[in-house]
Symmetry: C2
Subunit: 367 residues, 2 copies
């Protein structure tokens, strides 16, 4: 048993398609400094977790294509604490593999999964929530951290909270009634009005053995495959077993594989928290994270490269050394990179993936 509060699992994947052309296949969202903080989202995620995990307590799971970049950004990460996936197999395989490896290395520790590409502005609130989640997890629950919904967002899934758990040292935790997909605007407004719904930030805290037992019950084949890989991970057989077993693992999200069915049986708890969380899912979201300059214009990059007139609320990302000028388009989004420029508005932020889909046809080099 390790004596740290928890072992953090950081799945570092996802293309960030709606942040194209900032985010690319070779430079996905988690590898980028999207807040102008001087640290990438991955680095900020690990910075946020270290006080809770201690020095050796973070395990990053990423694709082999990004392993070198992750190592370069996290020089303090021990070689053993980076798990490279041969191919994307969704969040259950990524988190399940890490939990299985950690269980074999450290026993039935509490593990927590935290995406590498989210933003948390109130670190103290984050820490408080995770500490309470760990206490609830020790009692055998799958614990999710539910983000206080301050607007009827249609961009996030929701967690519906039920009665308080009422345990000692877990003052805010409640049982989870269920999870929902991203709602439409009316539904989101109705959720907000009840006060029972929180945003699902994909943060799960659970004992490794509890997670693996649920996986064995819900997805026995996936559990067996991950177990075989985990058995071989710290041996010479790793590559052989990975190559044989990994490609056939089921692709499923942890929400569907574990959280939803276990919640239906009363086994999931939520710790509500307001922590300035955002998944930075698109440029509208990114715009809210960049501090405004004059005229409510937000510049992510060298401000000297940007000139705006009558463009209140614009987000400009100068990234090629060129001067970017915007005239008369409020809420414009202009992203300038060395090989591609995107011009749109904050209201169209979700549709950027349409542009990316069109680029797949003949302009693949830009993705």
């Amino acid at each position: 048993m390790s004596d740290s509060l928890l072992h953090a699992i950081v799945p570092a994947g996802g293309a960030g398609t709606r942040l194209w052309p900032l985010s690319r296949r070779t430079a996905p969202k988690f590898l980028l400094d999207l807040t102008g903080a001087g640290r990438t989202l991955l680095q900020q995620t690990v910075d946020r977790l270290r006080p809770l995990t201690g020095a050796g307590g973070v395990t990053v799971v990423t694709g082999t294509a990004h392993a070198a970049a992750v190592r370069a950004q996290l020089p303090e990460l021990a070689e053993a604490d980076l798990l490279a996936e041969p191919s994307p197999r969704d969040s259950m395989a990524a988190i399940g593999l890490a939990a299985a490896v950690l269980a074999r290395r450290h026993g039935d520790v509490v593990v927590g999964s935290f995406a590498a590409d989210h933003v948390v502005r109130d670190t103290a609130a984050f820490e408080r929530a995770v500490r309470e989640a760990v206490a609830v997890a020790r009692a055998g629950y799958v614990v999710t951290i539910g983000i206080e919904a301050d607007r009827p967002s249609t961009a996030f899934g929701y967690i519906r909270a039920g009665e308080p758990l009422g345990g000692a040292g877990t003052p805010t935790a409640r049982r989870v009634v269920g999870f929902t997909e991203k709602p439409d605007a009316d539904t989101a407004a109705a959720y907000l009005a009840t006060g029972e719904y929180r945003w699902n930030a994909g943060m799960f805290v659970v004992r490794a053995a509890v997670l693996l037992d649920h996986l064995a019950a819900e997805r026995p084949a996936l559990h067996a495959g991950l177990g075989e890989i985990a058995d071989a991970w710290d041996t010479d057989a790793r590559q052989e077993v990975l190559a044989r077993v990994w490609p056939d693992l089921e692709k499923v999200a942890i929400d569907h594989a574990i959280a939803e069915p276990v919640a239906a049986r009363g086994g999931v708890a939520v710790v509500p928290a307001a922590m300035g969380w955002d998944d930075v899912g698109d440029f509208a979201s990114l715009a809210t994270l960049v501090p405004p300059a004059d005229d409510d214009v937000r510049v992510l990059g060298p401000a000297a490269d940007v000139l705006t007139v009558d463009a209140d609320g614009a987000l400009v990302v100068p990234g090629s050394g060129r001067t970017v000028t915007v005239l008369g388009i409020p809420d414009a989004v202009v992203v300038d990179t060395p090989d591609a420029v995107l011009v749109t508005t904050r209201a169209h932020a979700q549709q950027v993936k349409q542009v990316v889909d069109l680029l797949r046809d003949g302009r693949d080099r830009l993705l």
Copy 2:
């Protein structure tokens, strides 16, 4: 006396500020191919005039800074037919100098001035109008070609036509009542309703001696200065006289110096014409000159570099080899160059000069 129909004077000046960043100090509008025709506006202007002037009948007046570029674009232009101005002194000095030099070389020929940076789509109509203008000019009038106004434009000055001249061979020519500055929208609509107003395209056709006599009467100092320079032009004294006299010449437009006062005395005629003329004054104007592709999107440059979604009516000018994507901004104007990008809309085309004015402060290298 030359035996050509007329000697054309092509003032090649003007920055085209509202076409920044396409148009620059070092690459002003007249040096650019703005219609995708494979010929620059200057080249198209000369192409249009040659059938009327004959091989040696075009004289270009430009700034010394652009003389080399003009020569490169017009290799057939004789060295004597390029007059280089040491500094900009407005249209009266440019046209007056050329008229004075041509009068000394060829006698009292008919001269016609045609800006180097306008577009004419119906060349046959242009030729018909110029031929009639020459006939009227021979009778001693200052003749302007009045463009049929097909919309209440506020971007052009207007010519008010009076009674027909009624001479033989000049069936459409009318006396000019007066000239007006660019009107506001209500005034422009009222002009259109009367049927008496034409757009002033700055095309003047007049006998050289008539022009110089009017200049002597209206602006005797300017006339004297230009005369002294013209006397020296084809001699070794040209540079000395230019350096001494040119800097102090009055800066005044030919409209104010000649056309308006002479019209008030009944000495100006107009030949009306519909010839698909445009001064390509801004990106809204330019957009109408570029043929539309799918979705009414207009691309000036390599179409393969542009991708648009929900951007009907957009004008995109890809000019750096990068891919330019526009999403959800109808009538967007995006101009991409190696060192600057402009993002605006057709409705803001006139305000581009505000951007240019801001660039003067610290970003002069981009102008």
